[in-house]
């Protein structure tokens, strides 16, 4: 059976799309709602994943507690990143955030005693002793498998998408509250919002922290799904995948994120395995590059014909 038709392949695509949904939802909160150009979002994913893995392997902490610590630390990092930088103009803020994520990646690569270095989490317990942080996840997954009588992939798929759906729902709800109203108003004109007595800076910090928490949760699932990761998994490219997803789906709405993530996931993972013409003319390595071209073309096409994204609002797009 060809890969493209196999269920295992599509459930993998589904799991990745679910992780991307959580990850990109953070960008939607920060940019789509609060207008913050965060180009270092991947750092929060890395902080979530690494904190959890390190605390489990080195401190022998309960994995779920460690996961909570990962999310909390990512939120703290969001606040610490925001404190000195949020007063900068949007474009300067964007540059600092990308530097932030790269600095963290380099630190993770070089601090091998803390992180396992460039070899990744396999070295967390020291060279030669294979470290494992996801024992609790595997046994939990096993219970879900038996309980629902499904395969491991399907169990992961269900878990990722349950959390993603909860997160999308929660963000949708919160954006309809007065808190969300202030956030959207800041995106429109922060001086006007300040003139009405709202502490714009505090709201931006909160948006950063909420987005960071979502990024960290995505990082946890990433760590559990792949059982092993290294600093290079958290390169800036991943941040831009999240941006592509948000733009594909449409800005300023929570439920467009899973749509963007699924479209992105199918194009990105799918094109690699498309074994019908014209893709069959290329070998799989070549196809791996073709998918980037395909995504680029889709985004260019979208910007030309549907700049608001698949489900964004054209009406909102043209307002001045």
């Amino acid at each position: 059976m060809s890969t493209i038709a196999s269920f295992g392949f599509w459930s993998f695509v589904g799991i990745v799309a679910g992780i991307y949904t959580l990850f990109a939802l953070g960008v939607q909160v920060q940019f789509g709602f609060a207008g913050l150009l965060n180009f270092g979002h991947v750092a929060f994913m890395g902080i979530g994943a690494y904190t959890m893995a390190i605390l489990v392997v080195k401190e022998d902490l309960n994995m779920w507690v460690a996961a909570g610590c990962g999310v909390a630390l990512a939120m703290l990092a969001g606040v610490l990143l925001g404190l000195p930088t949020l007063r900068l103009r949007a474009d300067y803020f964007a540059i600092t955030t990308i530097a932030f994520s790269e600095i963290l990646r380099y630190v993770a690569t070089n601090e091998d005693r803390l992180t396992g270095g460039s070899q990744g989490t396999i070295n967390l317990a020291g060279i030669g002793r294979t470290a494992q942080y996801d024992g609790a996840w595997q046994s939990f997954l096993g219970k879900v498998e038996r309980g629902l009588n499904v395969s491991g992939d399907v169990a992961t798929l269900i878990l990722v998408w349950s959390v993603a759906a909860l997160a999308v729902g929660a963000v949708s709800l919160v954006m309809r509250t007065p808190w969300g109203r202030v956030l959207k108003a800041i995106r429109e004109d922060e001086d006007a919002v300040a003139s009405l007595g709202k502490n714009v800076f505090a709201y931006k910090l909160q948006a950063l922290a909420v987005g960071a928490a979502l990024g960290a949760v995505a990082g946890l699932f990433y760590a559990w799904q792949f059982s092993f990761f290294s600093p290079d998994d958290f390169a800036p490219l991943l941040t831009f995948f999240a941006w592509m997803i948000v733009i594909l789906g449409g800005l300023g709405r929570a439920w467009t994120v899973p749509v963007g993530a699924i479209v992105f996931g199918v194009i990105f993972a799918g094109t690699r395995f498309f074994d019908f013409p014209p893709f069959s003319l290329l070998d799989s390595t070549e196809r791996a590059y073709v998918r980037l071209i395909v995504i680029g073309l889709v985004i260019i096409g979208l910007m030309l014909f549907r700049p608001q994204g698949i489900f964004g609002s054209r009406e909102e797009m043209v307002l001045e």
Partner: protein
């Protein structure tokens, strides 16, 4: 005379070599409707920006109800009870007209994440009250039929009215209006002035406004402050200011019809 609600003392604010405001001092009496007039470039808008905290003065002090505010952030000043509008209206275009007004509700527990989680009942009650008030204000400025529309579809004049409704929603004690009547029909403008007079009578609200329509200034205000080239050159009752030679000089060449 009561203690002034707003006291500006020797405020200087320069941009590079240009002194936009040059040792300006003025008082605004509580419960007054004070007009700030002067030719283009006199420094009126810059002074507004200093008073509301959007620009830092190089020198001088600003007091609101006796409290120094010249080093306070704009949102702090707004919370003290001094709220402004902008010369170019700041409609939040991708929010509904109603949401634009609701945003100005002060002390709303639903604007805190903790309030949303811990006191959902209070949030709902406050939101209901805010909606009632916002709807009233939209009716006042005749925008109620646009309540559900994006603010971005409003015309320039309608955006001025939206700003006016929003600033009243914030419930301030001193309102700074930067050219509130620009682009607003004279009939509606007159109604807004009447409403402002009512708010002053009922709530003791004070108004300081910049306006170019001098007929409106003479009719609506009980005190006029005149600026020219960054300085305050005259202040007093409208009739006195109209007779002041320095004021006539400042306006010479601009066909003054006082």
């Amino acid at each position: 005379m009561n203690a002034p609600i707003l006291e500006v003392r020797e405020v200087t604010c320069s941009f590079g070599g240009l002194r936009a405001v040059d040792r300006a001092s003025l008082d605004v009496e509580p419960g007054s409707i004070t007009a700030l007039i002067g030719p283009n470039g006199a420094g009126k808008s810059t002074l507004f920006n200093v008073v509301s905290g959007f620009l830092a003065a190089d020198r001088g002090t600003v007091r609101f109800e006796g409290r120094r505010i010249d080093r306070s952030a704009p949102h702090r000043i707004a919370r003290f009870g001094l709220v402004r509008t902008f010369q170019v209206p700041r409609a939040l275009t991708r929010l509904s007209v109603l949401d634009n007004v609701l945003l100005a509700a002060s002390g709303h527990p639903g604007e805190r994440l903790s309030g949303l989680l811990l006191r959902p009942g209070r949030v709902r009650a406050r939101e209901r009250k805010a909606r009632e008030r916002a709807t009233e204000l939209l009716e006042l400025v005749r925008l109620e039929s646009h309540a559900g529309d994006y603010a971005g579809v409003l015309s320039g004049g309608e955006r001025k009215l939206l700003d006016f409704a929003r600033v009243l929603m914030a419930g301030p004690r001193l309102v700074l209006l930067d050219e509130p009547m620009a682009g607003v029909s004279p009939t509606l403008g007159r109604q807004l002035v009447e409403h402002a007079l009512g708010l002053r009578a009922d709530l003791g609200m004070t108004f300081l406004f910049v306006e170019h329509d001098l007929d409106m200034v003479m009719e609506a205000s009980d005190r006029v402050i005149v600026m020219n080239e960054g300085r305050v050159i005259a202040s007093g009752a409208p009739a006195d200011v109209r007779a002041d030679e320095r004021v006539v000089d400042a306006y010479l060449g601009t066909t003054l019809s006082l």
